[in-house]
Symmetry: C2
Subunit: 331 residues, 2 copies
């Protein structure tokens, strides 16, 4: 047992709503704190959608051959002892049990854990943490789900350095059930252990990150790889298709770097290239130095050409590849 039962998720965006839903699904008391009636109006359809997505996933899991089956969602159930009807009931119970709250003081009054899922804007996070700090009871642990901002940036304003760390999720957490648990310098072992146990209790595989690291474990590997592929193209060494084939045929991975760029969108790709050069605090000094010798100007030029031509990636019908209306590559 993690000792964490009462969970407050601050922010009802894509991941906030998923984390709230998954926590409720696994039997926690969950409140979603939202800033305004407008936020409530945007959050409710996400929860409706999630209820549907969980039910659909459970339906697909009925036909699965094992945990390795692509349809299997380890966030929903173990393969052994899978009871689809019981899972369906838990989904509806989770949906009914979620509390949406505008009053932050009321929301966090007895919270064991606050999961910060606000927009990735440093000022907004700071403002939220300063408002939050005086309202929490002594026991509350605070985690941030930020992908791109280092938790240490907010330690002071959170005001309880030993009970503050990062808990970072993938998208579609009922299926991609990993959670990176990352400390900042002052996080206590107890808080780290409690959050790790909490991650397990909501059916995530906890991945420990024992020192603060920009990019956690996944992006720390993903970005050097993506940029190494883009660098080959920007320097005229080869073309996107050939670079992708070299990777997919050479490693058995489903996608090469340009297929990933098309999936996440070229605007995001451009932002990654920009951020890793400029914004202080996003990359560790090590990561920034490592990236600098890349031909960033060339990468920006390539991406900008595509973006200016409206080739924004798969969702726009064209990026480095062309897609039909079902999102399959044509040509």
């Amino acid at each position: 047992m993690s000792g964490i039962q009462k969970v407050v998720v601050a922010g009802g965006g894509v991941l906030g709503s998923q984390i709230a839903f998954q926590s409720a699904y696994t039997g926690h008391d969950v409140t979603i704190w939202l800033r305004s009636e407008g936020s409530i109006g945007r959050c409710r359809p996400k929860l409706d959608m999630l209820r549907g997505a969980y039910h659909e996933a459970i339906e697909d899991m009925r036909g699965a051959k094992g945990e390795d089956d692509p349809a299997w969602c380890a966030g929903i159930s173990d393969f052994e002892g899978f009871d689809a009807d019981a899972c369906d009931r838990r989904v509806d119970q989770a949906y009914e049990s979620l509390v949406l709250e505008l009053d932050l003081a009321k929301a966090v009054r007895d919270a064991d854990l606050v999961v910060e899922c606000m927009a990735e804007v440093a000022d907004q996070k700071s403002a939220f943490f300063s408002k939050l700090a005086p309202l929490m009871p002594q026991k509350t642990i605070v985690v941030t789900n930020s992908s791109s901002l280092l938790p240490s940036q907010f330690t002071k304003v959170v005001g309880r350095p030993d009970r503050y760390l990062a808990l970072h999720f993938a998208n579609s957490i009922w299926k991609h059930n990993v959670a990176e648990v990352m400390v900042q310098d002052q996080t206590s072992q107890d808080s780290f252990a409690a959050v790790t146990e909490f991650a397990r209790s909501i059916r995530m595989i906890p991945l420990p990150v024992k020192k603060e690291k920009a990019g956690y474990l996944l992006n720390s590997q993903l970005i050097p790889w993506l940029l190494s592929g883009l660098d080959l193209y920007a320097n005229g060494i080869s073309d996107p298709r050939s670079i992708d084939i070299a990777w997919t045929m050479g490693t058995g991975a489903p996608k090469g770097p340009f297929q990933v760029f098309d999936t996440v969108g070229l605007t995001t790709a451009y932002n990654i290239v920009e951020q890793y050069q400029r914004v202080p605090g996003i990359a560790t000094p090590l990561l920034r130095k490592m990236m600098l010798p890349y031909n960033f100007k060339g990468m920006e030029r390539v991406l900008k050409e595509y973006i200016d031509a409206g080739k924004l990636g798969r969702s726009a019908g064209e990026g480095f590849y062309k897609y039909d209306k079902n999102g399959n590559v044509v040509e």
Copy 2:
């Protein structure tokens, strides 16, 4: 048509024998030049083994559902019009047709293409090329299959800069049918086109590398990724299993960096770390600079600990993971 019919493969090692076999299988006149009777004795069993491997692959292909089927070997046949019996006959014809030759002058007398597959030792390659240079007719194109040495290192000794480039294969080329075609500064467009067409004629997907690049397309992506994973462990940020899970769950790839290290062997991993720091000429200046801020000392320490303990990777039964006698992970 590539205009390349008479092929000489210099060296009968793992890749030399595969390239020779595949070229013969696709109807080329192939001679394998070997340095000594001892080399012939080591090469013959490889060719016997390849004949068996091709026949087995063809047998497995009979049950395949399409080109995406894992059993399909695109180096052996297209899916449409696949005729297993005809393929089997071509395998036996290829095997019978291969000429093993000790006399280099005789071997290359009328060669359209010489494929250099000697050991990855610069002095040995230089010695071979100086011996080869005066023996070839005007028309012969020379390619090197070197993975780790840049072709430009040998341009002078090869002596025909316009007809000299690199052609780099993956292992098990009948299945992993890609070939990186890489120029050096002085390679002519005609030679590049002829070798690209030759690659196609032996059923490889040619991947153009239009400027000389250490690591070609695959290793240029693979090494930054592998080192980014190892760096996380060397710096105490997380453990091999968690770093691997972050990658495989996050990208859908079959293996994380430590699973790849265990597969290629930790001694090879150690050599990669060593080479990218020290040996001049292996990495481009760009790549060397890019790598330097990594914690190489830490990486070496980690790998050396495992190697000294006999944990050399999967083939040794233990590396970063433990394996049973079938090569499956235990624990």
